[in-house]
């Protein structure tokens, strides 16, 4: 039975999945800042874990650069470490370990070792946490070969994704959007989420494709992931209800290595693409997808790819200013309306 039950909050699913993983495998170890009970981590994802498994849940000092190295060492020696980085913004402190070590060991040592670690970390804003606790820095990871970046959305089987990440022999970044913690899971029921029809690909980290017309027609494809999915779904719903413009949405869960079959299949139906991400615009997720899709499907596109992203700037602490900075429903709606051949 899936832990990712309808209506459970994201944090509850992640927490129960960790408990299940610890119960099932002895090699799983979790460490990070403030993860011990009774506090249970800044977002309570590890609640109850250290009480149940005191030997395998370790609290650490503020020392991210070292923690990545510790995780690498544990993974090289056959454990399955899960490193919790309290805020995704602090991943930058450990990037040298990732770029010059973790991602390279397997090839440098001719496949004799693997580095099966998981770095769990929350990304994303809309909580008023200010410039250094609100970013979506996935783009820093997009260009690193030989790692996996997984970002669940509230419509994915979040628990299954985390289990797959721990089972994976490759180093995996597991990006948890902060809003996912408090939001209810919305898995497809009877092939639908609300009024939108949903298809799920059969990869280890599946892509979800949503259609406003049961895949019969579409004016554009919106490709997104993680915490931007609810924004994109609200936007395509508004486009249908207010303008009778019918779009598809593709929610990737695997950002790296980038595999775009679901996007290309959708674009073949719709002929236009909008990318939507919460990170800043330049050199991001949308830029990479736009480049790949125009290369693979130029003849399918009737309009230039539109990108929706945060403005290239820093995230203000004040909520109204933060809202201006981050991409919202209206930004996605406007991007779709700006495409050639989209008329209401």
């Amino acid at each position: 039975m899936s832990i990712t039950a309808q209506g459970k909050r994201g944090v509850q699913v992640l927490n129960e999945t960790l408990h299940a993983l610890f119960a099932e495998r002895d090699d799983v170890v979790l460490f990070g800042e403030d993860v011990l009970d009774p506090y249970g981590g800044a977002f309570k994802v590890t609640a109850g874990l250290s009480d149940a498994y005191p030997d395998r849940v370790l609290t650490t000092p503020i020392s991210e650069a070292s923690l990545f190295g510790v995780a690498a060492g544990m993974a090289l020696r056959g454990r399955r470490p899960i490193l919790e980085i309290m805020f995704g913004d602090f991943v930058a402190l450990g990037l040298d370990q990732v770029v010059n070590g973790i991602s390279k060991f397997r090839e440098m040592y001719d496949d004799q070792v693997t580095v099966p670690l998981v770095v769990r970390t929350p990304m994303g804003g809309r909580r008023g946490y200010g410039p250094t606790h609100s970013q979506s820095l996935e783009k820093l990871l997009l260009g690193i070969p030989n790692i996996v970046v997984v970002a669940p959305s509230e419509c994915h089987d979040v628990g299954a994704l985390l289990i797959a990440a721990v089972d994976d022999e490759r180093p995996v970044f597991f990006i948890e959007n902060k809003l996912l913690y408090g939001r209810p899971i919305r898995r497809a029921e009877d092939g639908h989420v609300g009024e939108l029809a949903v298809r799920e690909s059969d990869e280890m980290y599946p892509a979800l494709t949503f259609s406003a017309t049961d895949f019969t027609e579409g004016a554009a494809t919106v490709v997104t992931y993680g915490g931007m999915l609810p924004v994109a779904l609200d936007a395509v719903t508004e486009l249908v209800l207010e303008h009778e413009i019918f779009c598809e949405v593709v929610a990737l869960s695997q950002l790296v290595p980038m595999e775009l079959d679901a996007v290309l299949e959708s674009v073949a139906r719709t002929g236009a693409l909008v990318t939507a991400e919460e990170g800043t615009l330049t050199g991001g997720f949308g830029a990479e997808i736009a480049a790949r899709v125009q290369e693979a499907a130029w003849s399918d596109l009737r309009a230039p790819v539109q990108r929706v992203a945060a403005r290239d700037g820093i995230i203000p602490s004040a909520r109204p200013l933060e809202d201006d900075m981050l991409p919202g429903i209206e930004d996605v709606v406007s991007a779709v309306m700006a495409l050639d051949g989209v008329r209401s």
């Binding site: 800044a42 309570k44 606790h133 408090g182 009024e195 049961d214 209800l241 009778e244 051949g341």
Partner: protein
């Protein structure tokens, strides 16, 4: 009565999790007793009761609560408890998500027709199409057959000409005189143009001023309405079984052949020579032709009308293009297709040279069908379609920035100047925004705000203010002419027409000017 308010424990947070109630709802609590656990991202705190009394909880456990909200009352007496009960009725409900599934268009259409959206059973969104289907089903049930003139064809996207009025009796001929008109065709054709007009008026037709019915032409219908300035070329033949109505300034070239039940032609239509309208089934009860205002029909175009053919406003149906509303073939009982269906060209659509529109075609607004394409079915609005069969491959137009429009308009001034110079007209050099020809200034300004020395022809995007006598201001985007002018204005209009910019009021073409 005391309140328990969720205070801010963490400067970065707007919400906190009400993790757990430590006491039951309606429990007796004492001052300082911990009553609940609240979690923020940085802290977990116990909240204490501010005094003794009965606690009334306003939120469930395990929900996010906005900081500053009251989460419970502590009633210090029975009276207070009763007052609190009244307030607690207002316990915030969970906001329903996705409760709306009908689109705005669907809701509006359903209201218009008094349709209950709840009765439409469908997984997914309820759209305008779904409501239209219900409306069509209701209409079909109420009136089998429907209106013969349109035969149930949707006029969406089609601006019908003002002459379209199947119920009007205006211009009706005496039945006996209509019969006579049919009998004396040869004699009528031999009449001088002015005498043809007099004869038709005598019989009851409504004919405007300056109508030119060309040499050898013939017009017959039980109802005839011809507006001012209409011109039918030499040897034109118009025979309609019920009605023929045509709006002002519309003109057809030589050798028009028009036969159908009802022809409603708009104003400002420009049609070339040897246009043929009719063919098999033109006497069928559904043989209705409507052509919208300012449409263009090219030389040798052929329109078969046995089912409604609706051509919208400003449509281009160019040379030798072909519209058919039925096919001819082998027996339906042997499984061959036998198709009778209307053809609709929505407003501002364009059909290229030699293209064929098969029965059942519908060209969406502003769509373009490329030359020699063969259309079967619907071409989406705003698309560019090409091929056999025609497929939409792109957009018919693209959005222009204000700066780009301005650049194009300035370039038009230069191109017009060059053309006049090559034609041998004396033109002044082009200054900032225009030049002079024949003593008239021709200039472009993005926004016209009144004034200018006469005589002048001014092209602009935005007209406000009074236009003095002797000045003509052409609104390039609204495509309206303000004021008046002479030969230079006519030349500018002709020049603009060749760039797809036609102005109202006035006819299609301005031949004989400087260009």
């Amino acid at each position: 009565m005391l309140e328990i308010v969720l205070t801010r424990e963490d400067a970065n947070t707007e919400y906190a999790l009400l993790a757990e109630w430590l006491v039951e709802d309606r429990a007796e609590v004492t001052a300082g007793q911990p009553v609940c656990v609240v979690e923020t991202t940085k802290a977990t705190v116990e909240v204490e009761s501010p005094g003794a009394g009965t606690i009334v909880q306003l939120f469930d456990e395990d929900v996010e609560v906005e900081l500053g909200k009251t989460i419970a009352y502590v009633a210090e007496s029975a009276d207070e408890l009763a007052a609190v009960d009244a307030k607690a009725e207002e316990k915030p409900a969970t906001k329903p998500v996705g409760d709306r599934k009908a689109t705005r268009k669907a809701v509006e259409l359903a209201e218009l027709h008094g349709i209950d959206l709840g009765a439409i059973e469908k997984r997914g969104f309820i759209t305008e199409k779904d409501v239209e289907a219900v409306v069509a089903a209701q209409k079909a049930a109420a009136a089998p057959g429907g209106s013969a003139a349109l035969a149930g064809v949707s006029t969406e996207g089609v601006t019908l000409p003002s002459t379209f009025d199947p119920d009007s009796a205006s211009g009706a001929l005496e039945p006996s005189q209509y019969d006579q008109l049919l009998r004396e065709e040869a004699e009528f054709r031999a009449l001088a143009p002015a005498d043809k007009v007099s004869r038709l008026r005598e019989y009851g037709a409504v004919i405007g001023d300056d109508v030119d019915l060309g040499e050898g032409s013939y017009v017959a219908a039980p109802r005839i309405v011809i507006a001012d300035g209409v011109s039918l070329g030499p040897r034109a033949t118009v025979v309609c079984e019920e009605a023929f109505a045509i709006g002002e300034l519309s003109q057809f070239g030589a050798d028009l052949e028009l036969r159908c039940r009802r022809a409603y032609l708009g104003s400002g239509i420009w049609a070339g020579r040897s246009v043929r309208i009719g063919g098999g089934g033109h006497r069928d009860p559904w043989a209705t032709l409507a052509i919208g205002d300012l449409a263009f029909v090219g030389d040798e175009a052929f329109v078969n009308v046995c089912r409604p053919v609706l051509i919208g406003r400003e449509v281009f149906l160019t040379m030798r293009s072909l519209i058919v509303t039925h096919n001819v073939g082998h027996s339906v009982l042997e499984g061959f297709e036998n198709r009778f269906a209307p053809v609709v060209l929505e407003d501002r659509s364009q059909v290229g040279l030699g293209a064929v529109l098969y029965a059942g075609s519908r060209i969406g607004e502003e769509a373009i069908v490329a030359s020699n394409s063969y259309v079967v079915g619907e071409i989406p609005a705003g698309s560019f379609a090409i091929g056999v069969p025609a497929k939409a491959t792109g957009s018919s137009s693209h959005k222009l920035s204000h700066a780009r429009r301005t650049e194009l308009a300035r370039r038009m001034i230069h191109d017009f100047h060059e053309l006049l110079a090559l034609r041998g007209h004396a033109v002044s050099a082009v200054d900032d925004d225009g030049f002079e020809v024949e003593g008239t200034r021709v200039a472009f300004t993005p926004a016209y705000r009144g004034g200018a020395d006469s005589p002048a022809v001014i092209l602009t995007f935005d007209v406000r203010g009074d236009v003095p006598h002797g000045v003509a201001v052409l609104d390039l985007l609204g495509r309206q002419v303000h004021g008046s002018g002479g030969q230079v204005l006519d030349s500018v209009r002709e020049f603009c027409r060749k760039r797809g910019i036609r102005f109202e009021p006035g006819p299609w073409r301005y031949p004989g000017g400087l260009v």
